[in-house]
Amino acid sequence: MWTTTNQNKEQLSILHDRDVIICRNRIKEVAVKIGMGIVNQTKLITAVSELARNMLIYAGGGNVIVEVVARGREQGVKIVFEDKGPGIQDIAKAMQDGFTTGKSMGMGLPGAKRLVSEFNIESTVGKGTTIKIVKWKNG
């Protein structure tokens, strides 16, 4: 369930594959509300889908926090993905196209980074992973 944490932040916990869809749909609504075009909306929710699914698969779930941010006159959507999973040993490696420990394609992290305006990843082995992304309306 979405809960409003303060005036413009919303939070959703990702525990099942259906939550990934709920999350995508809600973030799409937020992007539409600030007038983001269809191509950037699609890039943003594709990145969201990758990162939310990673949390589900590798960390057994996590939280997504969404907020509308501004840079001068331009608005954007900022999303934080935080989990208390096993963390990532070698972030540089995980960010490479084709690197996977899940017998998959290894496109999620590097692909998501290409699709958004700002991408920041922090991870501590044994503690968890936090990824922050921003997609500017025209970015």
Binding site: R24, N25, I38, T42, S49, S104, M105, M107, G111, A112
Partner: protein, 129 residues
């Protein structure tokens, strides 16, 4: 359990995906489609994704799996109706969607499959994609 319906149209199978699929449902569709190709001996699979708002790595993998397995069973796969924004995003994400034909709509996808059929009976080249 929830399922996506698969229609048989002559030698082809048609799937119209009407909602964004959660992962379990996409996996079920993959299994059902392969079963149907096997059971019906269909020569082509058309997947209409015009209602999909995104194709992420998971959905891309499912489509790739369907194409690869259908090809082993001598059926070709055509993805139809991909939204332009989805196509642009797929390229930037870095997904090749190899072994999959694409067409603008179901009609053109059917025409593409039909045009490939006589060619196929000439030479049984399995890994021709």
């Amino acid at each position: 359990m929830e399922r996506i319906p698969i229609l048989k149209m002559g030698k082809f199978l048609l799937v119209t995906i009407q909602v964004d699929l959660y992962d379990r449902l996409a996996l079920t569709l993959e299994e059902d489609l392969i079963q149907m190709v096997h059971k019906t001996g269909a020569r082509g699979v058309l997947i209409d994704i015009s209602a999909l708002s995104i194709v992420d790595s998971f959905m891309g993998k499912i489509i790739g799996n369907i194409a690869a397995m259908s090809s082993i069973l001598d059926a070709e796969t055509v993805v139809v109706g991909m939204q332009p924004a989805v196509a642009i995003t797929l390229i930037e994400l870095g997904l090749p969607l190899s072994g999959v034909h694409t067409a603008l709509n179901v009609e053109r996808g059917m025409a593409l499959l039909a045009a490939r059929m006589p060619e196929e009976t000439d030479s049984e080249d399995v890994d021709d994609d």
